[in-house]
Symmetry: C2
Subunit: 480 residues, 2 copies
């Protein structure tokens, strides 16, 4: 059951008014990570809530309590829970999105005011903070709702909504809310599947469905020695220097080719066989794409399958930096007294923060013992999140694929992402439901960068995609 | 020829007025490294110049030109050149000191106002910025001059002075001045030996003469890869990460026991045989002293000779930090695009920045090639200074030893210092003269720290020491 032609026509006919509405949303600087903008996040919640109500969505603004940011106690923006339709014969889909955005200032290097949606008529780009992350996708759903409301058409499925205002700042309070509302009688009771539109195509050409995300374990190796910073002239070669110990330990974590050297970490992941390699072979992606995104010819391999598997189905270990050492410009002859090396491991199933931490600790303790130093080491795990992998043969994915074919006349690239969207796993586990990531924007949208944009065609065709997905969901028989 | 008893008595009798004068000098916050205090450095120069003139010293304030600090063009404080006595039958000694100081603020943790000399009557400490580094020693010379001026006594030697106001900020312009004035007809023409009082005893008990200083070569390893910082979720295990390469290279420079791993660097230094080890055995120094100074039990050895040789007659390599990586608190999942590792090597003869740099470059190039990375490396030498080693059997040292015995009834510890005082080597080379470092203060004076102090007894006995040194110099026959 493809979407009714009237829906497609409605979206095309109303494209300019949809873009105008996106401009209204972008104009509210709902930066969750900046206390000065906290009131704007509330304004954005009210704006979105009013839009939803106007199309017949019943909503509830949920108080998530307070939190402390930059030493200031602040009220958290509310989560918007919504529902429309209550037909037990229809499937119920839960839609997630977030209405907060990353910080942005013209002085960061934007070509136009970040909170004024700037329409480039030549290349069709809609430039502004939040255009693609994640206001564009949320407004895609509004566009679909508007068609049904204004034309008195019934939706093909029941929809529950979960929109939050703290995604860019750790989704505070959301996990608890999802777990509570997943209980019998809760807002999300009866949800059959979940759709999240908050990631991107691999490239600028081919639509994507995403079925996996890596998890993360973030570690800090603390080495302490002297009671205070020392002068390298006076103390050089008289005492054990913490930096020497730390740098040796950090050098034993990963090799220049990206192989993780902590015993047991790589071994946990089953090797990829021919069939699985074929998935990556099929993706519309070239080494040139990653090198363009990285800004240099530094890919680990000239084999695209290797590089894609490195990002999508392999763990990775990155050294982020050192706290407590000299980091400024110039030359300072200091022996730092306390240094802390930061690194993180991106996890893939069956790795979890829980089964990785003991391997890291045991290895670092053993390597530290080999140093023969009198300094002290303490390893801390700062935070962690489990990886997520969905069944990509589930009917939820079938519907998303069918919608992609219908709108784009293309097979979507089936991808796993290297990063983490922790709420995905929370939905999957709390609801016991399949989650599909159905992105609207392109790989070059620059979600957290300057000049964030959404292409006009991605906004308009993407709205059709989301609408069509609902009809394709409804069309799948016997899976309710 | 020990000092006349009248000189010793004069110093004891005038101790309180000398301390009062030290208070006047400390009260002028002549911080050379802070543009806000630049005028105070000029005021201090005028104060010192007036003192010298009042005791019959002919002076010249030498304009050293301008420099740029913190983006501001500033006039450099003048160097004060002085001379008193012109008897061709007497030896001529050049005395160096500096009248600028390190920054200091009460809020740094001082127990009293840093620019108010605070006299602790219980333990005899004179607390204030510059008390020991280097206003106390300069005023020691003034105390000796005052005796001769007020009592119409002729000095036993001719004296030339060189006092600068930029020592704590790189001694800008001084090398050129020394080299110029060392020429025939220059201010320093005819100097027979040099005395610098700008370092410290090893401990709190035993006077010291210093005959060596380590040099330094400061390096920066630049690794560049991506065009901009990348997200570790998206790019982890797809590209060569600069931090991985840098940390491996830094781990190959020095081991936890302080051995330098760059081939050729250690080998350059001849091993110490029994006779030389005896020098270090004799020093009044215990492992406990270094561990107290470092604030932890982390000495590289329990053998004091090994530890002292590590500081005084061995090269050392310290890793100072990394520029460009994540250095803050918390967890940031960044792959830094450009990182620069900073390290320095303290040099001992026959090492020089010139013969060390090729070894460092060659080794790093070879190790970098082994990494098989596509990132780029550039090694920079930021600055360097050669080591200095004096003939400790020279009559200049004999005079300093005899003066120490006369004033302290102790044999001085003969030391080499781990740090660098670059002007020492400039004097030695430009003048072709022996230089003795004859410290006034103790090892716990905290020259660059909070609560810098000079013990009253070190100031008063130290003034006697400087005066006696002049008479002992004069007493040595046939060395003119």
């Amino acid at each position: 059951m493809p979407a009714p032609p009237e829906l497609i026509k409605f979206i095309d006919d109303n494209a300019e008014s949809f873009i105008k509405r996106l401009g209204e949303a972008v104009a509210i600087p709902s930066v969750s990570g900046d206390a000065k903008h906290r009131q704007d996040v509330f304004t954005m919640a009210q704006w979105l809530n009013a839009q939803l109500n106007s199309y017949g969505v019943e909503t509830q603004l949920t108080d998530l309590g307070k939190h402390v940011m930059d030493g200031e106690e602040l009220q958290l923006p509310p989560a918007i829970l919504g529902k429309i339709g209550n037909d037990p014969s229809k499937k119920t889909v839960l839609i997630y999105g977030h209405f907060d955005v990353q910080p942005a200032n013209l002085s960061d290097g934007w070509s136009s005011e970040p909170f004024t949606l700037t329409i480039n008529r030549e290349n069709g780009q809609l430039v502004g903070r939040g255009s693609t992350d994640d206001k564009g996708p949320i407004l895609g759903w509004l566009n679909v709702l508007q068609y049904h409301a204004e034309n008195q058409k019934e939706l093909p499925v029941n929809i529950k909504f979960c929109f939050e205002g703290m995604e860019e700042s750790g989704s505070e309070g959301l996990d608890e809310l999802v777990e509570k509302e997943a209980q019998p009688g809760g807002w999300f009771d009866g949800v059959d599947c979940v759709c999240i539109s908050d990631n991107y195509w691999l490239n600028t050409r081919t639509p994507v469905l995403t079925y996996g995300l890596r998890g993360i374990s973030y570690f800090k190796i603390n080495i302490t020695g002297p009671g205070w910073d020392l002068h390298s002239g006076v103390f050089g070669r008289t005492i054990h220097e913490p930096m020497t110990d730390l740098v040796i330990l950090m050098s034993k974590l990963v090799d220049p080719q990206g192989h993780i050297l902590i015993p047991g970490v790589e071994e946990m992941v089953p090797p990829a066989f021919g069939e699985e390699r074929a998935i990556y072979e099929k993706l519309d992606y070239a080494i040139g794409d990653i090198e363009a995104a990285a800004g240099a010819s530094i890919a680990l391999s000239s084999d695209k399958v290797e590089v894609l598997m490195g990002r999508m189905r392999s763990p990775s270990l990155s050294l982020h930096g050192i706290e407590g050492a000299f980091y400024g410009a110039g030359a300072k002859t200091v022996i730092p007294a306390k240094v802390a090396g930061k690194f993180s491991i991106r996890l893939v199933p069956p790795q979890t923060p829980e089964n990785i931490a003991p391997l890291v600790n045991e290895y670092l303790e053993a390597e530290f013992a080999k140093l023969g130093t009198k300094n002290k080491m303490v390893v801390e795990e700062i935070h962690g999140g489990r990886p997520w992998l969905a069944d990509l043969n589930h009917w939820n994915f079938e519907a998303a694929k069918a919608a992609t074919r219908a709108v784009y006349q293309q097979e979507p690239d089936m991808t796993r992402e290297g990063g983490s969207i922790p709420v995905t796993l929370t939905f999957a586990e709390a609801l016991g439901a399949n989650v599909v990531l159905l992105p609207m924007g392109r790989g070059d949208d620059g979600a957290h960068s300057t000049n964030e944009k959404l292409d006009r065609s991605n906004f308009i065709e993407g709205s059709k995609l989301l609408g069509t997905y609902l009809y394709e969901l409804a069309a799948i028989q016997g899976k309710k």
